[in-house]
């Protein structure tokens, strides 16, 4: 069964304390892995798309990497405004159709 698992469920960091969020997946026919940021009361906001193992994407303090089994979202020197829920989703193909499968997210809190 296709599955996406994110860890940890919640993470508290001090401002400037770098860390990584994990997204492990078991899907057939991966056609992209997506990272989103979601603030309370809002919809997910797109961050990155990764398509193949070894690929990396960066944006400000965030860097996403991908292997054949998992993806990491590295946060370097985080600031309080980075506090949010970070969602991972995969796009997989099954019998000619595409499906989007989300993880439950990691709630990040960055303390000043």
């Amino acid at each position: 069964e296709d599955q996406v698992t994110q860890s940890p469920e919640a993470l508290r960091l001090q401002e400037g304390e770098s860390s990584s969020l994990n997204c492990s997946y078991t899907v057939s026919g991966l056609r992209g892995l997506f990272w989103y940021r979601q603030d309370p009361g809002k919809g997910p906001e797109f961050l990155f798309t990764l398509y193949s193992a070894g690929e990396e994407k960066e944006k400000e303090r965030l860097k996403a990497t991908l292997t054949k089994k998992e993806s990491f979202l590295h946060i370097t020197a985080p600031k309080p405004e980075d506090s949010a829920t970070y969602l991972c989703a995969v796009r997989a193909t099954t019998s000619g159709t595409y499906k989007y499968i989300f993880g439950t997210g990691t709630r990040l809190k960055v303390l000043a």
Partner: protein
Amino acid sequence: EAGVTQFPSHSVIEKGQTVTLRCDPISGHDNLYWYRRVMGKEIKFLLHFVKESKQDESGMPNNRFLAERTGGTYSTLKVQPAELEDSGVYFCASSPGSHQQYFGPGTRLTVT
């Protein structure tokens, strides 16, 4: 450029009543998706429109849910009759292709 909009932002209805949710995608986006997040669970795919056609509706829970996209513009999701387990946040997303999706703020549905 206006983002994806959803109406209403909140809806509280009694079990057995009917509710219609509306989504206005970003202009020019042929792809429109509906998702639902039940409390404590991951965001789950409901269905996917390409223009006015249903590309994939495999995530629709049952026949109490009806989605339409007349003219390939806005979309509605009707729940009739609503049950307690239908409570959650319903997200709409649109995309110009089959990759990056832009999410709306969601409609929080509470069935009492």
